[in-house]
């Protein structure tokens, strides 16, 4: 046991030291891997928008101003934000889709950057190592005396101590983040609101992850701590122009609707909450009406269901930006309900809009039958 424990100590990692900006080759390679990976969002407009949000946060806070930071977006169903040691920061489409406004996005970035600036991970690792060394002899004696059966209790105690340290470190970093948000001109409660909003959205979608921005339990505990911090009267926000609000809404709605479209087949319970959230913000669009009609069609139960689905698609095609597929589905529903003339006219509209679609030859066979 002594030899084994000695090896454990010998194999402890060298603790990193120095500023976070000193990211090594590994971070550069990791950044290259994200950039060339399949989840990287290649959107110049989104990159420019995210960079501007980050710039506003940096310019208001001297601690951030001198750092070489850059930010990009990765595709992921769940909300997530992180920063590599070399200053490459990332948010996910799942995060953008579930935040309410730019203030919340900025707050989430601040919550991500603060522990990085403060070296929380390094400090926690160092503390863990100190705890290991401090408890080494007593633990060794206990393990030897109990022939190893004391190990579960030791592991439990260590996990508890580690969790306490992590909570303390996170609270301290969150306080820094709240200050940054206020200095950047946003309401300090934006951080708490962001986390509460993320939790509510995830719960309504019956979805959960295990990370700091996707686990409803972690979000609840952290937002409650943040609410206590930002309970003082909020200053009037100085950054909330119509432009930035519209820009944020454009990206957020886009990724939210993309999520709803993907969920139609694999996770249908989330579709309605997502549509309600986005339509509350931007009103009904051709695409959101199409997704709602698709959901209605998939819920058809007998003739009343068909009529409801027809009504949903008819409403959708009143929008000038309705997707071509809405005409196809509406035409096929007319055909199903025996309205053959309307079916023919609507399917022709589909072919007008999507003459080279993969299923165009099939639709033409339907039209032949309708002659």
């Amino acid at each position: 046991v002594v030899a084994a424990s000695a090896m454990l100590l010998a194999r402890s990692p060298a603790l990193p030291a120095g500023a976070p900006a000193g990211g090594g080759l590994s971070d550069e390679r990791l950044e290259a891997a994200y950039t060339s990976g399949g989840t990287f969002v290649h959107s110049t407009a989104l990159d420019a928008y995210l960079a501007e949000v980050l710039r506003q946060l940096q310019s208001a806070n001297p601690e951030l101003a001198s750092l070489s930071l850059r930010i990009h977006c990765l595709t992921d169903d769940l909300p997530y934000s992180f920063v590599l040691g070399n200053g490459a920061a990332y948010v996910t489409t799942g995060l953008l889709a579930r935040l309410d406004d730019q203030a919340q996005l900025s707050a989430t970035l601040a919550l991500t950057l603060a522990p990085w600036i403060r070296h929380d991970r390094d400090s926690l690792d160092a503390e863990g190592h100190r705890r290991l060394v401090r408890n080494f002899l007593p633990n060794l004696l206990l393990l030897t005396a109990t022939a190893g059966f004391g190990a579960p209790a030791l592991a439990k105690a260590d996990a508890k101590a580690r969790a306490n340290s992590e909570t303390q470190a996170q609270s301290a970093s969150d306080a820094v983040a709240v200050d940054w948000i206020a200095r950047a001109g946003y309401a300090p409660d934006a951080a708490a609101l962001a986390l509460t909003g993320l939790r509510d959205a995830l719960l309504s979608e019956q979805r959960a992850g295990q990370t700091e921005f996707s686990d409803p339990e972690l979000l609840k505990a952290r937002s409650e701590r943040l609410s206590r911090k930002s309970s003082e009267p909020a200053p009037i926000p100085t950054i909330s122009t119509n432009d930035s609000a519209a820009q944020f809404a454009r990206f957020s709605n886009h990724y939210a609707l993309a999520q709803a479209a993907a969920d139609l087949a694999k996770h249908p319970v989330s579709v309605l909450p997502i549509l309600e959230r986005t339509e509350k913000r931007q009103g009904e669009t051709g695409y959101s009406a199409y997704l709602r009609a698709e959901l209605t069609r998939r819920n058809i139960e007998g003739p009343p269901g068909v009529a409801a689905a027809i009504a949903a698609y008819e409403k959708c095609v009143t929008h000038t930006d309705a997707p071509a597929a809405a005409y196809r589905e509406l035409g096929l529903l007319y055909r199903r309900s025996g309205e053959l003339e309307r079916a023919r006219a609507t399917l022709l509209k589909y072919l007008d809009r999507a003459p080279t679609a993969d299923d165009a030859p099939i639709i033409r066979t339907y039209l032949d039958d309708l002659k």
């Binding site: 084994a4 424990s5 390679r29 891997a33 863990g128 059966f149 190990a151 819920n299 096929l332």
Partner: protein, 547 residues
Amino acid sequence: MRTTSARGIAVVAILCAASSPVWSVTPSPPLTPQQLGFTSGSREDLLARCKKVALLPLDRPALPGLDPEASARLEAATRSALGDLGMTFISTDSYTRAVERFSRAVGGVYDPYLGTQRRNAYQSVLANALRDFVSQEAPDCLATLEVALRTANWRGNHAYWDFVEESVYGEVQSAAAAFFFGSRNESGTIGALSLRLQISNPEGKLLYSRFGGVQLTTYLNKHAGKGESDFLGVARTKWLQDDKRLGRALTAATVPLRYTPEQISAGWGKDQVIDVTLVPLTSLPVPPAGGQFERPAALQMPREELLKSLHRVALGPLLLNGFTPPTEYASHVTARVRERLAPLNWDIVDAPSLNSAFEAALKSTGGLYDPNTGVLDKEKQRAVFASVTKSLGLTPPPDAILVMALAHTRAEQRSGNARWDGTAQQALTFGNVVDGPHMLGGSADNTAGEGFVDASSFEVILRDSEGKVTYRARGGIELLQQLSIKTEIHYPRTEYKQQLATRAPSELFKDESRNAAAIDAALRELVLSPAEIAAQDAAAREKPSKH
């Protein structure tokens, strides 16, 4: 992929394993409808609704290379499992006919140039066939099966995935053997096969979806020798052959349909009809044997015969396949290939227009593959090659065409030492591979565990004038990703996690010796006789192992 725990705690771990939940892997019982697989509505809703069910036919084969008959056996097992729940099945013949009709309407669902499925076209064919089928037959629900490649987590001697458990060695170890010989103090991931049962309403709204594990597709090789893989692969023809395992997979996939959440919670860890990890492996047939992953033979006909039949060979330009090597790389490759082939006394003629001529010939024939079946049309292939050979304008015409290409591949790494296509490279440092651990001057780093790293290779394909492949081989160039190991202490264990980062294109193809060795490896079996290869291998074994 394998993660190695600190060897130092092995003693403590073995002492504690009996009493501690820390090292045991017990699936916790899922209780919410979502966790149980009910994506919309409840179990009661589904069972009340789905009386007359259409089980949509699986592709035959379900995955490329699988036994086509296995699809029918899977469907039969599914009918049996769902039939026990009181569901009856309606014929899907009209669906099959509709799929054929619509496939013809879209001009076939296979790409005539590549032979691959046109995914969007295929999906629209299936969607419309389903629409017709549902309007004619009016099923209550649709059931679909999918055979899926999965990743199993393993720890010690056992792998767990999709509610089942198997031995990582592909053999059944008795409890006594496990006690006396112990368990590996390691963990990782390994390839596995599962099936997924999905039930939806006739409009395609998903009601239920759940996986059930069938078998491992890879085993750990406990007798791995020097230079051998630590993994053994199970041939695809041996997948889905075990009806008992198919039955177990369907049991796992249908547990929430057969039992209430409360019954599942109460029976988890106690009752093997609810928790199928309790099914003793000794009650199942012995899993199919695994074998070493073997490279396909380079020579497609006897070497002597090939060499006798060839006198004049057209050499096309290097196909880059998305790589961006330095500008002079292609000319260096051509020069090296010519030099290596010189002993064969072939008349090698440069054919700079080979690739464009091939493209034009393909276009004029409309592709080599049947768009309805995806099968290669050999007559068309012959015609295309005859046309290409003619269009090169070489007199006399060449007997064969040699195509050179850069290829993306994956290298298996063990302790950081990556080996693929006749070469090796250290994945942590990009240095040479030297057998043996660090402290003895080797390059192996046990913290790196095992896994795969993206790599590049140089490939040559020799085709006769009718397009038939007579020689095809690869030589490994270099790794395209760097492996790094992140150390995490989870007291009292230390875990080493693998991270992979992609190399920038500007770093690649700069090592002259690696570039040359790749070409030599790719042409080796063409240029050297079997006796010369044996002598070369023997000489390499006598030298200190260094690549």
